[in-house]
């Protein structure tokens, strides 16, 4: 297969008899399952460090402000809904409505990142403030990296929707991005509970 590149998402490719499907989505789902373990590792590390800590909060810090992150949570969770709506319109081949809701989802993701940045800049502790600061920035930063990736992926898919005929043979790229976005969303809900709801 020297000269055969990976088919772009959505293009049907022949892979021997009776196997005329692209495997990109299967591969992506397997990757997401694997990726979730890295979060699981960080979550369990956080829980173990917190449960075994003598003084969890560094001196001069009395906890995390939860209002701003709560707004962020609402925005991120609703962005999963707008994404479902966008996909629904794509299924009905209403491309402009798809683009509108897709862009709205992107904007909500970008707002989440903005909110995260505002929260970070107002905090009185840093990355090196004990295990509390370390785990806080590690968890929110690593998740933020995923949100940023999701927004970039959405931008790429939006750009691809303007290529004529690109979505005619199936839309694995859009499906994969949407799976990724829901994944990022679920991770955030767990993260929110662990960081902000769990009180000592």
């Amino acid at each position: 297969m020297t000269s055969t590149p990976i088919p772009p998402p959505g293009q049907v490719v022949a892979h021997g008899e009776g196997q005329h499907v692209s495997h990109n989505l299967t591969g992506f789902i397997i990757f997401l399952c694997s990726e979730s373990v890295i979060f699981l590792a960080f979550f369990s590390g956080y829980a173990i460090l917190r449960l075994s800590a003598l003084d969890w909060l560094p001196a001069g810090v009395d906890g995390l402000e939860w209002r701003m992150p709560l707004i962020n949570t609402v925005v991120l969770v609703s962005s999963s809904l707008t994404m479902v709506v966008a996909e629904h319109f794509k299924g009905k081949e209403k491309v402009w409505l798809f683009r509108a809701f897709w862009l709205l989802t992107m904007a909500m993701g970008a707002y989440f990142l903005y909110g995260q940045a505002v929260e970070w800049s107002g905090l009185k502790f840093g990355f090196t403030s004990g295990t509390f600061g370390g785990t806080f920035y590690l968890l929110t930063g690593f998740h933020g990296l995923h949100v940023a990736t999701g927004v970039l992926l959405m931008g790429l898919m939006l750009f691809k929707s303007f290529i004529p005929g690109n979505y005619s043979g199936g839309e694995e790229g859009v499906k994969a991005t949407s799976l990724f976005w829901h994944f990022v969303d679920v991770i955030w809900v767990i993260l929110f509970v662990l960081l902000y709801v769990w009180r000592a």
Partner: protein, 558 residues
Amino acid sequence: MTSTLPLARPEEGQSWTRYFGFNTDAKVIGIQYIVVAFFFFLIGGFLAMIIRGELITPASDLVDRTVYNGLYTMHGTIMLFLFIFPVLNGLNNLLIPTMIGAPDMAFPRLNAVAFWLVPIFGSLLIASFFVPGGPAYSGWWSYPPVSIQNPLGNLINGQGLWLVAVALSGVSSIMGAVNFVTTILRMRAPGMGFFRMPVFCWTALAAQTLQLIGLPALTGGAIMLLLDLTAGTSFYRPEGGGDPVLYQHFFWFYSHPAVYVIILPVFGIFSELFPVYSRKPLFGYVYVSVASFIIVGLGLIVWVHHFFPSGVPEWMRNLFMFTTMLIAVPTGVKVFAWLGTIWRGKLQLTTPMLFCLGGLVNFVFAGITGIMLATVPIDIHVNNTYFVVGHFHYVIYGAAVMGIFAAIYHWFPKFTGRMPYEGLGKLHFLLTFVGANLNFLPMHPLGLMGMPRRVSSYDPEFAFWNVLASLGAFLLGVSIIPFLLNIISSWARGPRASHNPWNAIGLEWLLPSPPPEDNFGEHVPTVISRPYGYGSDEPLVEHQAEIEKALILQEATR
């Protein structure tokens, strides 16, 4: 039917230079993996020779003590991340598509990227020998607090390079695992249900599943270690409220299953080869296949047995002792299945069969010492002694590497089109088997006597067994010479191989040697029976007689 067979495709026109570039053919990538792996094997082996050279006398006289720390750290890291994993991924690349009748891997370009990461992180790791302060010296586990020291204060230091290399190795392995799992799940030949799949594919699927579950945990732990080392966080730093044992959990949550990632494909190799050279079907095919996944499940819940003395609560010790011992059951199922296979068979003691038999003997021995080590009181006594070193070298070298050699001799004709020489192969086996046992058996009495691992000088009372072990190590060093001679000379001008020189059953043996670039292409045969139908005349695929006749005709006109 003859007209639709994969025939007469020009193979000779392909240039050997394709092995040196970015190629997406799984068979090229497989050979690239194996050759690069053996390059690093020679480096790792050279380090082992220096280590055993140091240990042949009780005094620390050959190398400086700090150099010695770097040597065993790099020996372990190179052998695992740059030899064993790449060589197994090479075998996966060669065997999975041909065994299931797929034209290539599911994601050929991802496959090539995963391979090219190996020389990149390999060079990074080797480069750490030349940075100020030398390579990482905290052992291949890189436990904190030793691994979060940076006495020279340089941003680029041995430990940092080690961490980056291991992280890249993880990325490469995850790419590979996604590819292998997708290929096995989605690209099997028509008629090949899961219970008609060769056991090697079962074990590869199981091993790659473990990679997908375990590796992210190590990556997560390594990221935190790198931050502690360079960014001043205190995840593992007790003075900042951190917990060094947390790293041990992350590390072994992956690195124990990693042992199964190594040994499961070797179980697959044993299960493929014993039937061929005993001329009997594999005993208990279904049980052997399913046992692989029982090993996956249990293998994920035994990791704490690596650090029983590290302040682990009593209930945890007992629980993990129990699960560790439980793993002997599915493993035992496999061992008895192989014994049942060779029982009253017509054994053909070819080079691959000898390596399999030797590997099986060593594996059973390693399994027995493994159960001893699982027992908490014994483990606490021999923890961090040469008993442990002896145990895992029996697993890794005695069983896994011997199984890999068996696989190389067995499938060499298929993928190069040339037969390896039997005489050199048997010499290689003899030197390897004697060398491995002479090297690793004396480590057990040494450990029981209390000799700690990772020291460059020791009490003179340990000298006798150490001299034996060193002689065995040098014999192992010599054993690689007939192997290299054999492979290079037979690849260049060995006798031409037919499509099925061992009279084996399997889709890969219904392809020409070497197979065309897209294997069966559009003409994938339909599988109609279970694998390993030795002794019965039942065909494996539809129109098998025609396919074989066409292959013989093709060979006759070559």
